[in-house]
Symmetry: C2
Subunit: 379 residues, 2 copies
């Protein structure tokens, strides 16, 4: 596997991002990814009970349709807690974009991020569509990436390539951070594109596995947003014979996808609000992977632990306390806690539970005065 | 029920607090409460898997013995994660204090708060015992209260009186805050004393109920310490006919106890690390009280919510997000969110779930830059 030095769209994909006037700042706020040919798709959505209208619509589309050709995304407004009007607006985005692209089927996904509880300025969005579509280009991924950002401090993109079943295939991932910082701002969005030819089931399974070990293994403030979406589109333009879950190269693809997801997830942590450090927490010798992950999250979500890391103190008492909350039976002498040097940008905590042979890794950031400032003085 | 203007020990109780040299600062760090006659007792302890040695010992005593005569408490060292030596030291505190008080049985409880993972300076404690016992006095509750404090900014005491079964009885509560701020510092400790004559079962039940609605309904940082203890001693010196759970006056006693516990729990929140506001969260129209409390805690433990309150912004999007994490099926239009004026010291959030007719209240504090400072720059 090789990493492209510059973000690179796979064969057959185009992208664009423009300012449609949704954000008051005038910054880019409307983006589109389009595949010239039909794609297979898989997605993972938020489990927050109040999922936003675009999430409902995209889930619906994924259930109904077999093939897709892209995704339209706006930032600046989450279209969440917007009732029937919000749902109607999300559908209008899908329909109008499909029509503008001359597609027979409504097979464009939709995603939104931004303020909760205000109606989308749908006319602005519809009015900007012709310009958005006109500007689609095979080198437009950067513009798209910018258009989905909210409070991100830097772009989050990566592209890799490798040979699968004799053909060179490209995997390109773009995401925006989990920042929930402006009043009612939300969401982590991730879009992964590939020209691989792959069976739907195999694609779904791979995404589920990769997300579990990446996006679902990070915690910035323990909050899950109403709009979280991870979407993968595979258009088959690399012209390989179709990849199935039983193929030898499936593992190769899975490790590529894991790499892309983990890389993006870590950039989200790095860009966590006010974060100065990324903290890797390895939990070993658990009875199950789930148990290891649960303990990892108890530590990762402990404000006391996160502030201690900010203060560069290997405060193992706070780790003990967080592990103890799990209620797991662990003997004092079996619990091993190990810190790496804490004066680095990336720090590592190893915790061994002495209960079994399963492990899990979770990532978080430190808790800093800047977090409070960002999250309290946003008006 | 009347509130004493000054903290007041019930009949037959004495207390003292001194400096034994456990704290480097030289501040008071060893306290004793003693009843001249035998008491019935009830207690609630931490559920953290790594419960400290004194918690293990006190649990053991409560199981084994029927009557008790007091409690010895040290601050500055939590005697937690201290293995067999720690356990031995906690027992030595019990034994030596019982002996010094000329008691036949080992019926003095023990509690500790402070640094985790260091052995108690047991010789200092034993050496200070004669002085501690000599100084016991019916007006010594203030000294005791000081001796159990760690990072508390103010004392947390209250005494109330009322007539139960024709006799005036007094209920006196003292506690220390949940601050976990010094490296490996821990714990909420609460001691409640009464001269009421009450059956053991009735006492246990009342404490369980009162704690559920007070100490177990507050959250400062969502962390439960290794040493948390709430203990009640009832010595019967008011000479009322014994109170049972079936008596008409039982409800009166229960409401007194609830009042004392909630009052103390709220002072803990008020003294939360760096807190500028105490936040009362009322969750209404839930299917069960447990469900209401769970939603309340999801909100109370949300850093995004707590920082918004610090910033005095009625950010209902963050409430929506926290409620949504519960996974409960709630229709958007059924969720009602209501903020009181946020520029006050005590603010109130009302959330209505539209699912049933049960309610619960939880308390928390705002999350401020001072919290980060206290918890990262303690060295």
């Amino acid at each position: 596997m090789k990493i492209y030095s510059k973000t690179h769209l796979p064969l057959g994909f185009k992208a664009n991002g423009i300012s449609a006037g949704i954000k008051k700042s005038g910054k880019p706020d409307l983006g589109l990814i389009f595949s010239e040919v039909k794609c297979r798709a898989a997605a993972v959505f938020t489990t927050n009970a109040f999922m936003a209208a675009p999430v409902r619509v995209s889930k619906d589309l994924l259930r109904r349709n077999k093939f897709f050709q892209g995704v339209i995304v706006n930032s600046g407004n989450a279209n969440c807690f917007t009732g029937q009007s919000g749902l109607k607006n999300a559908w209008r985005m899908v329909e109008a974009t499909s029509k503008m692209l001359d597609l027979k089927a409504k097979n464009i996904f939709v995603a939104s991020t931004g303020i909760i509880g205000r109606q989308l300025p749908i006319e602005k969005i519809l009015g900007a569509l012709p310009r958005l579509v006109r500007g689609l280009s095979a080198s437009g991924i950067d513009k798209f990436s910018q258009s989905i950002q909210t409070t991100d401090k830097f772009k989050k993109e990566i592209s890799v390539k490798a040979y699968i079943k004799g053909k060179e295939i490209t995997l390109c991932g773009v995401c925006k951070g989990a920042g929930m910082i402006f009043p009612h701002l939300a969401t982590m969005l991730c879009f992964i594109l590939t020209d691989l030819n792959i069976e739907k089931n195999a694609l779904e399974k791979a995404l589920r596995i990769a997300v579990a070990d990446s996006f679902n293994s990070i915690s910035i403030d323990g909050c899950q947003s109403t709009n979280d979406t991870v979407l993968i589109l595979a258009n088959g333009q690399a012209a390989n014979r179709i990849l199935t879950g039983k193929d030898r190269d499936y593992k190769k693809f899975l490790s590529m996808l894991k790499f892309v997801c983990l890389n993006l997830a870590k950039t989200i942590v790095k860009d966590g609000e006010g974060a100065t450090k990324i903290i890797r927490i390895d939990v070993h010798h658990a009875k199950s992977k789930e148990e290891a992950k649960r303990v990892g999250f108890l530590i990762a979500n402990s404000n006391l632990f996160k502030t201690a890391i900010y203060g560069e103190d290997p405060n193992w008492g706070r780790v003990v306390q967080a592990v103890g909350v799990s209620g797991l039976k662990i003997k004092e002498r079996d619990l091993k806690i190990n810190f790496s040097a804490l004066d680095k940008k990336e720090v590592r905590l190893k915790v061994s539970l002495g209960r079994g042979n399963k492990s899990a890794t979770v990532y978080t950031s430190d808790l800093t005065p800047a977090y409070i400032k960002i999250n309290s003085q946003y008006n």
